[in-house]
């Protein structure tokens, strides 16, 4: 068995903070409607940096009147401009946006890390590059809809109402806007209340790209703004990413309206490690699976299923690896684990972790210094978790891993599928035939074999069962924004 050495003496890194001088933030931001920033009619709110609890900017709050204005702008833009453009021209606007995102990538990454709390190495190397890639990918589809094999005469739906979460603020914006625009729709989108900043910088990029006014409208606000938006009678499409509870409520309110609906909701992914897995790679994959983005990932590998005979070895190596993770300043280039996005989310993670302990699971927390200010939760592993335990069933949406064991592939499959969710799953094994057989049996929309948490604009993403319906990414993601297309 591997002995756990104290690795701290290797970890004396000098601070390497990314400069914030690249940012030119305003003191307050309005709503982005009809191509311009305008005042909101609700009570403005502050967006704060979760790592320091300091105020970043004041953000306008859209009330139902503002939602009306935004939807009207999107409708006008659809009728008068966007639906009249050729696919090639729609594509050119999207290509422009992709290029502008690349040009202003560092600025966007810094804003994202400040507002969301995620490490700069993630926002810089994952989120923002994927944003550019998403626009670039869908740009190319705009004039090729006839070739997508989604039925004859593919046509846009009209105005799309989109509501997105706080875990990947800018990336979710790209996932929603790029396919909608490529298919010929116009958009009203609401970013999450705690992470509006990067979307407002993206609004400036839309201005620089000279995207026709009203094609994309960004309205900031809380749950009631989102509710008013998805229930607005003049929207033709609703796309939501977020919790299963809210997804359910939206599905109910949209029922019978004829609005096309796609939902990307919660998950409780199994990450299955067989005894023939390459253990070092698997440990890296487990860490990436649950501690990437502080575990604020709907497809996070939050249930580790380890074959019983390698359980101790895997858990020991995992603890060793977690002891080397650096938690702290999101803007520091060495940081592995950033801040929890909000106090509310931190409370939820704490509460569920305490329940896990009370229900008999064994808790282990990585040794790390927690900063005085801000919202933080050290990487945590629960062993001895039973399938009925709350932490094995409920989505925690934080850096908390539940470890369960299995003996046979059939048991692994049964345990993996024993959840109302079905978003993603991981399989670690050197045996290809076993991977393919297990992948066939898992009821999940995305399966990563010997890797985890990979995303690509060409690759469809979305869940089975109560993880929602519809797919984002790839040709399938285009179908979500076209009439008649069913996949």
């Amino acid at each position: 068995m591997t002995e756990i050495v104290k690795p701290h003496r290797f970890l004396d890194y000098a601070p390497a903070p990314e400069s914030t001088s690249i940012l030119h933030l305003k003191k307050s931001y309005g709503l982005f409607i009809d191509g311009e920033f305008v005042k909101g009619h609700g009570k403005p709110f502050l967006t704060v940096a979760p790592a320091t609890e300091e105020k970043i900017a004041e953000i306008a709050n859209a009330n139902s009147k503002d939602v009306d204005t935004a939807v009207a702008a999107a409708r006008r833009a659809y009728d008068r401009t966007w639906s009249k453009l050729s696919g090639a021209d729609r594509g050119k606007y999207l290509f422009r946006i992709a290029r502008l995102v690349q040009e202003r990538a560092r600025e966007l990454a810094v804003a994202e890390s400040i507002d969301n709390g995620k490490p700069i190495k993630e926002s810089r190397d994952v989120d923002v590059p994927l944003v550019a890639a998403w626009f670039f990918y869908y740009a190319g589809w705009a004039d090729k809809l006839d070739y997508a094999g989604l039925g004859p005469n593919p046509r846009a739906l009209g105005v799309a109402a989109q509501v997105i979460p706080w875990n990947f603020p800018l990336l979710m914006l790209a996932w929603k806007i790029a396919p909608a625009l490529a298919a010929g729709n116009t958009v009203v989108i609401k970013p999450a209340e705690t992470t509006p900043l990067s979307s407002l910088i993206l609004a400036e990029i839309f201005q620089q790209a000279e995207l026709p006014a009203g094609v994309v409208n960004i309205i900031t606000g809380a749950g009631d703004t989102g509710q008013a938006l998805v229930n607005h009678p003049d929207v033709n499409k609703v796309a939501f990413t977020g919790s299963t509870a809210v997804g359910r409520a939206i599905a109910k309110s949209v029922a019978g309206s004829g609005k096309k609906l796609t939902l990307e909701l919660g998950g409780k992914a199994a990450n299955i490690v067989f005894d023939d897995a390459p253990i070092d790679q698997a440990v890296e994959g487990i860490v990436n699976g649950i501690f990437f983005n502080q575990g604020h990932v709907c497809c996070a590998g939050s249930r580790l299923l380890v074959q019983e005979n390698v359980h101790d070895e895997v858990v020991d190596r995992l603890k060793l690896r977690l002891s080397t993770l650096r938690l702290g300043d999101p803007l520091d280039k060495n940081t592995d684990i950033g801040a929890i996005n909000s106090r509310e989310q931190l409370e939820r993670i704490r509460e569920l972790s305490d329940i896990g302990e009370r229900e008999g699971a064994e808790r282990w927390t990585a040794p790390c210094v927690i900063p005085d200010k801000g919202f933080w939760f050290a990487p945590t592993i629960f062993t001895n978790v039973s399938t009925s335990s709350t932490i094995a069933r409920e989505e925690i949406f934080g850096p908390v891993l539940s470890v369960l064991t299995f003996r046979t592939p059939a048991e692994a499959i049964a345990k993996a599928n024993n959840t109302p969710y079905g978003l993603s799953a991981g399989i670690w094994s050197e045996k290809g035939s076993r991977i393919l057989a297990v992948a066939d049996q898992l009821r999940a929309g995305v399966i990563w074999a010997n890797t985890f948490n990979r995303f690509d604009p060409a690759s469809p993403f979305g869940g089975y069962k109560e993880s929602g319906y519809g797919r984002e990414g790839g040709r399938h993601g285009l179908a979500a924004y076209l009439q008649g297309a069913s996949w």
Binding site: N450, D456, F461, G468
Partner: protein
């Protein structure tokens, strides 16, 4: 001279490959268009619907993992046996629906041809609805559609009863789903006769479960059943279907909206009852 006394059929439900009566003991009178008594059909209850879901769930593993070629042959076999009993179905439709013989023949033939059309899709819809993905990295990445699970269906409640039923059942089961279907309330007899065909066509028991009775009574229970993955409201247009869709949202079921009459054969109906699974696999460095 006294003619031969006919032997009428007892029409029951079709659940798990067997023909039980409704556990409730209830029946209802099925009348011809002219008002003549034809039969007492089983009036299925909530309990029957739940039994049918259990049977459908039990059959899902085997049917969904059968090879596509196998499923295609089973669907084609249904067409073969229906063809063999063509006259029986024509007679039944003439008396039950008051159709002319020509119209009844046309309906039966269209239904047979629908089975043949869908049978051919079994090993092709995956190729048309799935694709490989050129991702930016050393990964093998493939998206394929899979059956969504147990599908509850309200068969068309107007128009041809046999064709309506076939038009909703065939696209659901061809991909590997199993179904619980509520037949046309006013003309349920051809549905039960079809189940006799299914029972002898190598369709595993539980893949298709047929309930006769009141869809207004049974369908809401199916819409709320936690072990049902999708709800096809094809024939629910006059049955308060929006409430059923709202109920279905509790477990985020996939829902297909009502249509008028028998849905035309379409790939859309097959794909609407599938889930896209995307598998990534690393490629090693060489």
């Amino acid at each position: 001279m006294v003619g031969r006394l006919a032997v009428p059929k007892t029409y029951k439900l079709y659940i798990g490959g067997k023909f039980p009566r409704s556990e409730s003991g209830r029946t209802y009178e099925v009348l011809s268009k002219k008002g003549a008594f034809l039969a007492n059909a089983a009036l299925a209850s909530r309990k029957d619907a739940r039994d049918a879901v259990v049977a459908a769930r039990a059959a899902f593993g085997g049917w969904s993992s059968a090879t596509a070629y196998n499923r295609g042959q089973v669907l084609y076999r249904i067409a073969e046996l229906l063809e063999g009993r063509r006259d029986q179905f024509v007679d039944e439709l003439v008396s039950a629906e008051g159709l002319s013989r020509t119209a009844a023949v046309k309906q039966v033939d269209t239904a047979i041809d629908a089975w043949v059309w869908y049978a051919g899709w079994a090993d092709k819809y995956v190729q048309v609805a799935g694709n490989g993905n050129a991702v930016s990295g050393p990964y093998f990445n493939l998206s394929t559609p899979e059956p969504t699970g147990v599908v509850a269906i309200v068969a068309p409640q107007s128009g041809g009863s046999l064709l309506g039923l076939v038009s909703v059942v065939a696209p659901a089961i061809v991909s590997g789903n199993t179904v619980v279907v509520v037949a046309q309330q006013s003309a349920p007899l051809s549905a039960i006769s079809l189940s006799e065909v299914l029972a002898t066509s190598d369709v595993p028991g539980g893949v298709v479960n047929i309930l006769t009775g009141s869809p207004a009574e049974i369908a809401p229970w199916l819409a709320g059943h936690a072990d049902v993955n999708a709800l096809d409201l094809a024939g629910a247009g006059d049955l308060g279907w929006v409430d059923m869709q709202i109920t279905a949202a509790d477990t985020l079921k996939r829902v297909i909206a009502p249509e008028v009459g028998a849905p035309a054969p379409s790939l859309h109906r097959i794909v609407a009852l599938t889930e896209t699974k995307t598998v990534w696999h690393t490629k090693s460095l060489i």
